[in-house]
């Protein structure tokens, strides 16, 4: 049996874990602010909203992990079928600004996680996102 994982989900998981390792090692001090701009490739017309929502959930989950705290409030803008902007706030003062879209263009984006004494940058490029194929 051949199993193919979602390339982007796998990539995001690796990214999230790598950032977490840097955060947990204190490399940037206390994480304070996150900024993500992300476009996810989708061949499926009409599913952009769903894909954007999934990407937002993934980013939100990662931020929650990095900040070690649940989101306190969330503001969202964007019409159906259009990119979504989110501003997340945490009780301890952290914030995350996310701009997420889905469509025919290749997956791409950037992430900036700012800590009290350092910053992590990452560029998401479609060439780095490879499909994961497992043969059982």
């Amino acid at each position: 049996m051949t199993t193919v994982d979602s390339p982007f989900e796998e990539y995001w998981k690796r990214l999230s874990q790598t950032v977490a390792s840097a955060v947990n090692a204190g490399r940037i001090g206390v994480p304070k602010a996150l900024r993500v701009v992300l476009h996810v490739h989708s061949d499926s017309f009409g599913l952009e909203d769903s894909i954007q929502e999934q990407a937002a959930v993934a980013a939100r989950r990662s931020a929650t992990g990095w900040f070690s705290e649940e989101v306190d409030s969330e503001s969202v803008v964007g019409e159906s079928g259009s990119p979504t902007g989110l501003l997340l706030r945490w009780r301890s003062g952290q914030s995350a600004l996310l701009l997420i879209s889905a469509g025919i263009a290749s997956t791409t984006g950037s992430l900036v996680l700012m800590g009290s004494h350092g910053t992590i940058y990452h560029r998401i490029e479609s060439a780095l996102i490879r499909s994961t194929e497992r043969v059982d």
Binding site: G29, A33, V77, E79, G85, L87, L98, I104, T108, M114
Partner: protein
């Protein structure tokens, strides 16, 4: 014979340090005086006189300077709280005006400046980054239609200066909003001072007004900002009049946090593609045996490394690991002079800059309440 005689308002530890020198270096220009209002603080007075001495021009009162024959340009970098009053006096004398950013510390002040400029019928321009090569490329791409209709846009202005990691642990900012005070010695209100860049860029690129603002501010990095009670970071979630979603991050994040002066970037998401333009790109990266230093001596009057004049004293280590590929660039000041001479309207006038202040003031209001603030169209 020079074409333009210029009076420069302000002094050291304002952007006039750079602007005045750039005007002076243009063969079309001559700085004839540095000036300011009477009754300013001794601190400001001293710094103004220092710049005048460095530029080898007299230091005058504002009224004296405005009565000099043949002065046709005034460059204003006075304290934000005085910008409206001073600009109105300058414009009433019929002088063309180059303005430091942001335009003013309140919407009424910004409108007063714009109204005075319109009445005077002179040329005004506020500093922005729109003439930088990366911003020009973004505009060109937008105009080309390659991305289809642009449906979302993001811009960063994250200044990598100052020694971070000093904010007291457990500091949680409770935004109080704008009290109209923006001038401090050791720090600045960064949503205002840095936020002007992405906000002005988004407005210029799209030509669309912002209709809603949702914002947050933070004290994330610096003790200096926390002590004064001002923010070192802000993030804005915006909606434009045609439904386009826009986001902007602005702040001072610390010298070690970027290999150059900071993250200056714009990403446009269109129906058929995306494009990102950044001040740092394209660049080469150099790794060698040169010592890497991520900190600099802290100047007691400029811990945020805001000014060239203080940098001469502290001599921060150069950030030269990344070298941006050289591109020809027509500076903001050169473009202002070009407009003055051609009669073309500058791309960011005092009137355009009113909307920037509307957005930033709405951002403060939103950061207080946590709610969306709506702007009239």
């Amino acid at each position: 014979m020079v074409a333009h005689r210029i009076v420069a308002l302000g002094g050291n530890r304002t952007h006039l340090e750079g602007y005045a020198r750039e005007f002076a270096a243009d063969p079309r220009c001559e700085i004839v005086a540095v000036a300011d209002e009477n009754g300013i603080s001794e601190y400001r007075n001293g710094l103004n006189r220092l710049l005048a001495a460095e530029l080898k021009v007299p230091y005058l009162s504002l009224s004296e300077a405005l009565s000099i024959a043949d002065v046709d340009i005034v460059v204003s970098c006075v304290d934000i709280e005085r910008r409206a009053r001073v600009a109105q006096e300058v414009l009433a004398c019929g002088k063309n005006l180059y303005l430091d950013k942001p335009l003013a510390g309140s919407v009424p002040d910004a409108v007063a400046i714009a109204d005075a400029a319109d009445s005077a019928g002179v040329t005004t321009q506020m500093l922005t980054t729109i003439h930088a090569p990366w911003a020009q490329e973004a505009k060109s791409t937008m105009r080309s239609g390659k991305l289809g209709r642009v449906r979302a846009i993001h811009s960063d202005m994250l200044m990598a200066k100052g020694r971070p990691g000093t904010v007291p642990p457990g500091t949680i900012r409770k935004e109080q909003g704008s009290d109209g005070i923006f001038t401090y010695v050791t720090a600045k209100r960064e949503l205002f001072d840095m936020g002007i860049y992405p906000v002005s860029l988004i407005y210029w690129l799209t030509g669309k007004r912002v209709t809603s603002v949702n914002s947050v501010t933070g004290n994330y990095f610096f003790a200096e900002h926390a002590e004064i009670g001002i923010e070192d970071y802000g993030a804005m979630l915006l909606t434009l009049e045609d439904g386009t979603v826009a986001t902007a991050c602005a702040g001072r994040i610390g010298m070690p946090s970027h290999p150059q002066v900071g993250e200056r970037r714009i990403t446009m998401i269109g129906e058929t593609g995306l494009a990102t333009f950044a001040a740092a790109d394209p660049h080469i990266e150099i790794y060698n045996t040169e010592p890497v230093s991520t900190s600099a001596a802290v100047h007691p009057y400029d811990p945020m490394q805001m000014w060239g004049s203080t940098a001469k004293e502290t001599q921060p280590p150069p950030k030269n690991r990344w070298l941006t590929l050289g591109q020809s660039e027509r500076s903001d000041i050169a473009c202002f002079l070009d407009c003055l001479e051609s009669g073309q309207r500058p791309q960011v006038t005092a009137r355009d800059a009113v909307h920037h202040v509307e957005i930033l003031m709405a951002a403060y209001e939103s950061a207080v309440s946590g709610e969306t603030v709506y702007l009239s169209q």
